[in-house]
């Protein structure tokens, strides 16, 4: 009996060790083994760096030109916001040195222009725009400013503070979501590993969602999902954008902004902020 018991223990130990090894191997395949987290630049599942141009196929008459006062279609404004927008005076903004009000993070990616993305360091993705000559810093490994201690917050700015994280594919997939066996003789498509950046931005200076004075407040929280993909040699980027501002918006403003990658920066043309154009 004692021999059987020892043999059972030994067998159980071997099985446990093998299971642990198998689990570790699976984790290692995913790059999630018990190791210190990799820098965001190294862990990046997709490459967003390069030169991008915004494709203005949506909301053209509010983006490509400055709409007149009173044109607020498509934005769920509160009465307080409406009152403020009706008092819009670009000359007053210029006099106050506030020409960049429509280039803050909640509006910036909708401004027609080119975007240059590069790694500033291993944990910071730098996003520059030629329109308004703005720079956003998407910092990985940090908490959203709202969740950070007050001591770590910086002064409010047009681009605020942005906390970024990679969002990866789920670990386990139920069988009913796995594609059926392929038709014989048909090659499987090249499967990308995907990956999206989630960015949460706050600590913003109040500005405009639309150049004609539609406001957002300093309490605005901007959440974005940056996703890139390739199609027939072209690379695209879609930025899903949620703007939450209980003061000036009746509901979350949702837009998804498309960009296309360009071969180089030859069309990069920095222009200063303008409150009129």
């Amino acid at each position: 009996m004692k021999g059987v018991s020892n043999r059972f223990r030994l067998q159980a130990a071997v099985v446990a060790a093998m299971l642990a090894a198998a689990g570790a191997a699976t984790e290692a395949q995913r790059g999630n083994a018990n190791q210190p987290p990799q820098p965001a630049k190294v862990a990046a599942p997709v490459d967003l760096t390069g030169n991008w141009v915004s494709m203005v196929t949506q909301d053209w008459r509010w983006r490509m030109v400055t709409p007149p006062k009173g044109d607020y279609r498509g934005i769920p404004m509160t009465p307080e916001a409406l009152k403020l927008a009706q008092a819009w005076d670009p000359a007053k903004d210029e006099a106050a040195g506030e020409q960049c009000r429509s280039y803050g993070a909640p509006a910036l990616m909708s401004v027609p222009g080119r975007v240059r993305i590069s790694w500033q360091d291993d944990q910071t993705l730098k996003v520059e725009t030629d329109a308004g000559t703005q720079t956003r810093l998407l910092r990985f490994g940090t908490k959203p400013p709202g969740a950070s201690p007050a001591a770590t917050r910086t002064a409010r700015s047009w681009q605020g503070q942005s906390a970024a994280e990679w969002q990866m594919a789920p670990r386990n997939v139920p069988v009913n979501l796995r594609p059926a066996d392929r038709v014989p003789g048909v090659a499987a498509p090249a499967i990308g590993k995907g990956g999206t950046i989630k960015v949460v931005t706050s600590n913003l200076r109040p500005g405009y969602l639309r150049k004609n004075g539609v406001p957002y407040s300093e309490n605005t929280v901007l959440t974005e999902y940056w996703e890139t993909f390739k199609r027939d040699g072209d690379q695209w980027l879609t930025i899903t954008t949620l703007v939450e501002d209980p003061r000036y918006l009746r509901q979350t403003r949702l837009v998804a902004i498309p960009f296309k990658k360009e071969a180089d920066g030859s069309k990069w043309e920095p222009t200063p902020c303008s409150s009129r154009w």
Binding site: L10, Q11, V14, M18, L19, A22, T26, R30, P45, M55, V56, Q58, D59, W60, R61, M64, V65, P67, P68, K69, G70, Y72, R73, G74, I75, M77, R114, A131, M168, A169, P170, V173, V175, N176, R178, P179, A180, D181, R182, V183, A188, P189, I191, G192, G194, T196, K198, Y225, E227, F229, D234, W236, T238, T240, R253, L254, V255, A256, K267, W277
Partner: protein, 329 residues
């Protein structure tokens, strides 16, 4: 432990590992009801000629300018369906569900329900090939899909010519659509790239965001039934409302209403790139105030377009269904 036991144990461990391992591509569940949420003007055109930001080719522009929406009042055209790109420009929600192989339980296709005026989309996931270029073209087209990480990507071919933005521009039957369905919690972002060698000079990209809902409300699934809409068409069944080249009288409506130059209203790939603002800087005349279709707390709306029938632009008080704009925010 005997060697036989060790082999058995090892086999059991390997089987367990195989069953729990992560597949090469990851998939997520898209099934459910999804309501349209994004604040963009994908399907909205107040003015009759509005090709702003649409990369139409010369042929695409000619087609758009010859079109008279009153043609839809002809009995034989009243139930004409929209093409698959209407997923981005229509006002309706999505109902998505999956179809499993009855034996393996694996996913054969994702299905997107149709609406009263749009056919459903069945996205085959089993790798079957698209039909020959000479294959039948339907309202729905033929769609296959695969996963790219968290994103379902799909391609639709073999659909008919149709309207891609509120009766102002069209795709030919040689067009293709590439979709990206990416889920972020209870949100679903869909990116669509329409490519058309006939009516577009460059790919046309639109996006839409949906939020997961709890029911099917808002689905207009009733069948279309033709009725007599315009007496003139009844009296002259041979009449097909249209504009001859150079005779479309609405080309300057955007200029009158919004100060946007005619050249921009006529679209083309150049109008969707930021550098086109240099042209606009000298030609755009900003109105003193918003005159038409202003959204929140808009002043009384002014319409200078013809009234009545399907040929008319959307009325100031929008009604649901075909020809009507999405709800004003």
């Amino acid at each position: 432990m005997t060697s036989r036991m060790l082999v058995r144990t090892l086999a059991a461990v390997l089987s367990f590992t195989a069953l729990t391992a992560v597949p090469a591509s990851a998939q997520i569940d898209l099934s459910g009801y999804w309501t349209r949420e994004s604040d963009v003007d994908n399907g909205y055109s107040r003015e009759v000629v509005d090709l702003l930001g649409i990369p139409v080719s010369a042929d695409g522009r000619a087609k758009a300018l010859s079109y008279d929406i009153a043609s839809l009042s002809a009995t034989e055209r009243q139930c004409q369906m929209y093409p698959p790109f209407y997923l981005f420009t229509g006002p309706f929600p999505l109902k998505i569900w999956s179809e499993q192989d009855p034996i393996t339980q694996k996913l054969v296709a994702w299905e997107i329900d149709g609406w009263g005026d749009r056919g459903g989309t069945k996205i085959y996931m089993d790798g079957r090939p698209h039909p020959s270029p000479y294959g039948q073209h339907t309202h729905e087209g033929f769609t296959t899909g695969s996963w790219d990480g968290n994103t379902l990507t799909a391609v639709t071919t073999h659909f008919k010519m149709g309207d891609i933005k509120r009766h102002t521009s069209f795709n030919s039957d040689r067009a293709t659509i590439t979709y990206r369905f990416t889920r972020y919690g209870d949100l679903l972002t869909v990116t669509g790239i329409l490519e058309d060698p006939v009516y577009l000079a460059e790919p046309y990209v639109l996006t839409e965001i949906f939020r997961q809902g709890s029911g099917a409300s808002g689905f207009p699934l009733t069948a279309c039934e033709p009725i007599e809409e315009l007496p003139t068409l009844h009296e002259n069944p041979a009449l097909v409302p249209h504009y001859l080249p150079g005779e479309n009288k609405w080309t300057n409506e955007l200029t009158q209403n919004r100060g946007i130059p005619v050249e921009a209203a006529l679209g083309g790939p150049q109008t969707m790139y930021p550098e086109y603002r240099k042209v606009l800087k000298d030609t755009y005349k900003m109105p003193d105030k918003c005159k038409v279709d202003c959204g929140t707390a808009a002043p009384a709306q002014v319409s200078n377009a013809p009234a009545g029938g399907r040929g008319a632009p959307p009325p100031p008080a929008p009604a649901g269904g075909r020809g009507a704009p999405p709800p004003t925010q």
